[in-house]
């Protein structure tokens, strides 16, 4: 199946000379949730802004469902909904008026039933006649999502969608994103909250200094780069590692009271051999626990590694 979004050799150099994007190429499959991760200033918003038509690319091409965003910009933009990072809304308009405006702007005839459905999905129906300036920050964020969904887009860009929103609203948004995906909408989100990507994304891209340094299926990424640790709480503290255990990737912690074994999740963990060697060396333990690195740990490692 051809990608719904195809970015080829995209570069952006701002008038100030800042090289925000460097030869980016990326394909997004129809119906997937793609999380674009990166530190501040990495180029996430520039990339989204180019695809949506807000920023002009210096080089390269972008196709949305086969349509060039420059030559066939109308067809391309019709397919896209954008929820920007900043809470940029009209203060004096009502919720209903601003969503109806967005639908018209994207070239669709009025459809009160669709708008009602969208506002109900976002728990905004009761606020439909309220002026936006009277709403809380979280409600304004929902209004931005309602505006982006007013024209029934096939691709939805969420630029830091849950920045500054409370836990309940985050959960609501995650549910909404999954429901949209179930309806066939492709979701591309940027986020600082790695747990958000871990929770929702099918694939993860990491961007740093304007370069995509990794694109990987999330599960595969966690399998390949994820690490597990087994911590043994020793019966008696050790002053140092016995030579018999030198073959294992072990570290002493907590002043010799804990023994930490780190292993990757791909091959044989070597636990049987380790336990046998511990028994042979006469090292007993009172308790044990395991932990697995999160996507956040992987992300931090990746960004540090390439710095």
């Amino acid at each position: 199946m051809p990608p719904i979004l195809s970015i080829a050799n995209l570069s952006k150099v701002y008038a100030s000379g800042h090289n925000a994007l460097k030869d980016i190429s990326l394909d997004i499959a129809k119906g997937e949730i793609f999380a674009l991760l990166g530190p501040n200033g990495a180029g996430k918003t520039t990339l989204i802004s180019i695809v949506c038509g807000i920023v002009t690319a210096s080089a390269g091409s972008v196709r949305v469902d086969g349509q060039c965003i420059v030559r066939d910009y109308k067809a391309a933009r019709k397919a896209i909904g954008l929820v920007p990072q900043e809470l940029t809304t009209d203060a004096f308009e009502t919720v209903w008026a601003t969503t109806a405006f967005s639908r018209g702007l994207f070239g669709l005839p009025p459809d009160p039933a669709h708008l009602e459905r969208t506002l109900r999905d976002l728990s905004l129906w009761d606020k439909r006649d309220s002026r936006i300036m009277t709403l809380s920050g979280g409600m304004k964020r929902r209004v931005l999502i309602a505006k982006a969904l007013a024209h029934e887009p096939r691709i939805l860009f969420l630029d830091e969608p849950t920045a500054g929103v409370d836990v309940a609203l985050r959960q609501d948004m995650w549910r909404l994103v999954r429901r949209l995906r179930d309806q066939g909408v492709t979701i591309i989100l940027t986020t600082h909250y790695i747990d958000e990507a871990e929770e929702m994304a099918d694939r993860v891209g990491v961007i740093r200094n304007g370069e995509i340094i990794l694109v990987e299926d999330k599960a595969e990424l966690m399998r390949k780069l994820g690490k597990k640790q087994l911590t043994l709480h020793l019966a008696s503290p050790l002053a140092g590692l016995p030579p018999a255990l030198a073959g294992h990737n072990l570290e002493l912690a907590q002043g010799g009271r804990d023994l930490v074994y780190t292993y990757d999740t791909t091959g044989d963990a070597g636990l049987t051999g380790l336990l046998a060697d511990l028994a042979a060396a006469g090292i007993g333990f009172r308790d044990l626990h395991t932990s697995q690195s999160s996507l956040e740990d992987i992300f931090v490692d990746l960004v540090k590694e390439r710095a």
Partner: protein, 253 residues
């Protein structure tokens, strides 16, 4: 053509006008009434008729033109500047709308508002002085042409401005003086020859002169020259707007 977008932009801008109806409608009515009190009753009573037209009636086209120019510029410049200032411009830039459609929506609404206010001023003026319009179709034509041209000019100012101060700069320091010196309240034939010649460099003279011709059948400069100058200014504004959208100046990084 994305007519739904044009309609959405037009309605959005007109909604702002109706939201501030008191300020939008009552203010020009009061201002016009004050002009008639000062220029009509207090000063006008001591003035003879100008080119056979009572002074009170003579200033009506100038008053309408004064409001038409300032309102066209103010509405169009604010209309496009405010989304840039507030950041909501992202939605316009990311929508499937062409520059022509954006201009139709914003300039159409700004021109409509200015024409509405000019007609309110005309209606208010009829309460003070008897008005007859010699060429009503030409009057409407001039009204629309001037409103569209100066709304385009206002749109350019709104795109150029990078702050509220700049937004006010051109209307306050250029347009208002040119309008007052362009024969709003007098015929340039009343001026000494040197000032009359200098006045011909003021583009507003041609607009007011043409508009006055539509009311009273005579003008300071030939009607053909007035129409030609108005069209030249319209073309210049169109060229400016086209260039801005082509280059993305002040709109896109």
């Amino acid at each position: 053509m994305n007519w739904y977008a044009v309609r959405a932009l037009y309605r959005f801008e007109m909604a702002r006008f109706w939201r501030t109806a008191l300020q939008s409608i009552v203010a020009p009515v009061i201002a016009t009434s004050l002009y008639f009190v000062v220029f009509g009753a207090a000063i006008g009573a001591r003035m003879t008729a100008v080119e056979g037209v009572p002074y009170g009636a003579f200033i009506v086209p100038g008053l309408m033109m004064l409001s038409l120019l300032t309102q066209s510029i103010a509405n169009a410049s604010f209309g496009i500047y405010f989304p840039r200032f507030a950041g909501t411009i992202y939605e316009i830039l990311s929508a499937p709308v062409s520059p022509l459609e954006i201009v139709l929506g914003y300039v159409g609404a700004a021109a409509s508002k200015a024409i509405l206010i000019a007609l309110i001023i005309l209606a208010t003026a009829t309460l003070f002085v008897p008005i007859t319009i010699a060429h009503p179709f030409a009057m409407v034509g001039f009204l629309v042409l001037t409103a569209v041209t100066f709304s385009l000019f206002g749109f350019l100012i709104g795109l150029w401005a990078d702050g509220f101060e700049r937004l006010q700069l051109v209307p306050l320091l250029v347009i208002t003086p040119l309008t007052f010196l362009g024969g709003s309240f007098y015929s340039i034939d009343m001026l000494p020859p040197v000032w009359r010649t200098l006045s011909l460099a003021n583009p507003v003279v041609y607009l007011i002169s043409g508009f006055r011709w539509a009311f009273f059948g005579h003008s300071d400069v030939g009607i053909g020259v007035s129409v030609a100058m108005s069209l030249v200014f319209l073309v210049l504004c169109l060229a400016g707007v086209t260039w801005i959208f082509r280059t993305g100046y002040r709109l896109k990084s």
